[in-house]
């Protein structure tokens, strides 16, 4: 340790600061790694960013609210400024929410900002997920990050739900009561879970405090942890990119983090914040003073849960009242259990497992860094749309009463229709979407082979009219022809020469998914098409000349 004098003598101020920091805590390697790291750019990559930024805004506005909110369910009589509720008996939690709204300057704004950000958060996480699904960004090596993403989605729902229950107003109490009813439907342990959760009988005086701990500590901490893991993996894998000229499986094309990407992304945070502020300034959300404190007796018809809970509520509505039976003195209530658990269980299981399901069917174990255009994966796009339809039918069912009054039809009919759609909708969605994708792919083929229609009609010397097709330039052509289209892979015998049952299933799924595939244009095909064109195009030009 004799010569510890610096050999590097910085000349600029930035250099001196860098030197100071680096020789004490290190850090220049981080700058080297990230300062000019390349990030591909596309509008659809923004959903993940919006999710991240709305989460930051949730943390900021939520922290403000914790300074004033009191999660106690002790009984009190309101004596604040809001006249219609003066003297009304209520919980301290509800009163403190009223005080934040009416007596803390900016409190109402923060409440509305927090709630709108929560809606935006879940929405952007969902859209982000759809983007990842439809472009195949979950394929190797990103399967685990997809799983982390699914966990984040569940955590986002948990955060929203625990928050919704805190103000202890009529809506939040009614929401909890429904949860309590569902929990009680769980066989064997349901009653005990309910008693433990509420600290005795519903509603008790514990639940708001308990949900508060989950809402401001446990769930956000888990979300933060998962976001850290999620983004770490994005860096390790490098971002995917859309196919196009110059972009390959082995490179990343885009803008360097410093300055362009950082500026766009950083600036975008303020844009998201600004947009949420506009919404919070103008659109009232959850005006708890209109609903009053929780009371098990009244109910307001036509009130809706937050949008992301709607689908579960809708599933509860769709189920006919059958399936409750008593055996050996114990009650099983499938009328509650089935709709509350089955659709959500199905959706989430398929979601978590999809990367492996797809891999199993296609036997494609390669890495993929180039995204699929959704039309170029018709089977996957079809499955995704089937999932969306399934979800949307349940979601619509949560508003069946509003649909009925709005369209002047009977509520029962709306329910019957939605019950049918619950089963048929996803199937139709799959078929129609796949057809549309295949049609788009064929159109792409047409354009690649014969060029773009120009709308210009010319007459050939022998009197025939044709439309002039303009050949694509190399870049546009490459965009249309450069994709992969998996082929049917029939069931294969194993080493012993048997075809196992699971392999048969895989084989038939493969046929089901890929038998109608549209192959990408090959060079030979294009050359063949061109030599055919040459005959047509040449006289066409002459025709134009002679036409003048």
């Amino acid at each position: 340790m004799s010569a510890s004098t610096d050999t590097y003598v910085p000349k600029t101020r930035v250099g001196r600061i860098t030197n100071f920091v680096d020789t004490r805590v290190g850090g220049s390697s981080i700058v080297k790694e990230f300062g000019r790291k390349i990030f591909p750019d596309h509008w659809s990559f923004m959903f993940g960013e919006v999710a991240l930024y709305s989460f930051v805004i949730l943390l900021l506005s939520g922290t403000f609210l914790t300074f004033f909110f009191d999660p106690s369910m002790a009984e009190t009589h309101y004596d604040g400024v809001y006249v219609p509720l003066k003297g009304v008996e209520m919980s301290v939690a509800y009163q403190s929410t009223l005080d934040i709204s009416f007596e803390i300057r900016g409190g109402l704004f923060m409440r509305q900002l927090h709630h709108w950000s929560a809606l935006m958060f879940v929405a952007s996480v969902s859209f982000h997920m759809l983007r990842v699904f439809f472009t195949g960004a979950f394929r190797r090596p990103r399967e685990l990050n997809w799983v982390v993403g699914c966990v984040l989605l569940i955590l986002a729902l948990a955060a929203g739900f625990t928050g919704y229950s805190l103000p202890d107003d009529l809506l939040s109490g009614n929401g909890l009561r429904i949860i309590d009813g569902v929990i009680k439907g769980i066989p064997l342990v349901g009653t005990y879970i309910s008693l433990l959760l509420f600290g005795g009988e519903f509603p008790g005086t514990d639940i708001v405090g308990r949900l508060y701990v989950l809402h401001i500590l446990l769930v956000p901490a888990l979300i933060l942890l998962m976001i850290a893991v999620h983004l770490f993996m994005v860096v390790v894998h490098k971002h995917t990119q859309y196919p196009g000229p110059g972009r390959s499986e082995s490179n990343v094309v885009g803008f360097p983090i410093g300055p362009v990407y950082a500026a766009k992304a950083g600036g975008f945070f303020f844009v998201v914040f600004g947009i949420l502020a506009v919404i919070a300034a103008n659109f009232q959300i959850l005006a708890i003073w209109d609903y009053g404190p929780y009371d098990p007796s009244p109910v307001s018809a036509g009130t809706q849960p937050d949008w992301y809970i709607g689908w579960v509520d809708g599933a509860l509505r769709l189920m006919p009242g059958v399936g409750e039976f008593v055996i050996f003195g114990r009650t099983i209530s499938l009328n509650v259990l089935l709709p509350a658990l089955a659709p959500a269980g199905l959706l989430f299981t398929l979601m978590f497992a999809w990367p492996w399901i797809e891999r199993w069917v296609t036997k494609d174990h390669r890495e993929h860094h180039i995204l699929d255009r959704p039309r170029n994966a018709p089977f996957r796009t079809g499955i995704g749309v089937a999932g969306i339809v399934f979800y949307s039918v349940m979601w619509a069912a949560a508003s069946s009463d509003l649909i009925a009054t709005h369209f002047h039809v009977s509520l029962n009919d709306v329910t019957y229709w939605l019950r049918a759609l619950f089963f048929l909708g996803p199937i139709l969605g799959f078929i129609v979407t796949r057809r549309i994708c295949l049609a788009l792919q064929r159109k792409d083929r047409e354009i690649a082979l014969h060029g773009r229609e120009t709308g210009r009609i010319v007459r050939l010397p022998h009197g025939e009219f044709i439309e002039v097709h303009e050949p694509l330039n190399d870049y546009k052509l490459y965009r249309l022809v450069n994709f992969e289209s998996p082929e049917v892979l029939p069931a294969q015998p194993n080493k012993a020469g048997h075809i196992k049952r699971s392999e048969k299933l895989r084989g038939s799924l493969s046929r089901f998914f890929f038998e109608d595939r549209v192959a990408p244009v090959t060079r030979a095909e294009l050359e063949a098409a061109h030599s055919h064109h040459a005959e047509v195009e040449a006289p066409a030009e002459k025709a134009e000349v002679s036409g003048r």
Partner: protein
Amino acid sequence: MGDHSHGSPSTSGTVATAGQSDVEKFQDPGLPPHRPRRADKDPRAEKRAERQVAILFVISIIGTVLFFVGYFGIRLDDTIATLRFQNFTLGMGTAFAMLGIGVGIVHWAKTLMPDHEIVEERHEVRTEEDRRDAEQIIGQVLDESGISRRPLIRNTLIGAGVLAILPAIGIFRDLSKDMNPEVLRHTMWDAGVRLTRDPSGTPIKASDVTIGSAFHVIPEGLNEAEHKLEEKAKAVVLLMRLNPDELNVSPGREDWNYNGIVAYSKICTHVGCPVALYEQHTHHLLCPCHQSTFDLTQECKVIFGPAAHALPQLPISVDDEGYLVATSDFHEPVGPSYWERG
């Protein structure tokens, strides 16, 4: 890494590596040529963009000022209109403050910062060599610990570990002191308890209940009860009067109504919302939560929706002063089903 974004397809630098050997595949033409922006070519456009960015930042400053004007300038009184106005000012102030900065920076990045796309090579996440080394190290660690050679140690450790988790679950037992599901069977109703109006608690005379009318009812003394909300969550009742011939009374329930006045639990047997809507002419009760519909003329049997059993009926009569009273508690648990309900 390098900048390859200039030039015609044939001279631009990036060349595809994927599929080059494959004669059927197309050659990657490389990145399309860079198209210069207005501000790249025209110094006046560049100056203009610079000014626009600065104006956007100034708008942000104005927004922040607006926020403080709203914060200190508007006095909250007890009207919602003032509150809304302040909320609007604070919100729009914040919005301008944020959008000014955000749009400004994005505009700056888009117009003035370099927009040449750059190409970087991907690397494998990890090399195979590392994997082999790791496998070997883990093998060695396991081997030296002897855990696979000594199943006795391994199995007792697993057993101890699994058991050691149990206290962490068991310690939550006291989340509730009262764990007897029997509490769900009983409500405040009992023989002689008067039916009173919700929420005032004033008793109801049988003569007050005219045909077609409906009352929201709570048991007498509920408002003074110790666990008011818990009791109310089980005891709320709907009281209606029908023409006695319209009621289909099942055997054993003949004396549960009083001259066509009937009382039913208001807690939906689906998942527990209050069944709040009474349709007079059809005699249907409708739960607004999931639209379970109960037919009053058939002892509140479910005729539509997800609920699976009828609303429990409260047997009623009148006392010597003519007030409606219960003649017993409900004969079955109210509200949603649960495992021990039977």
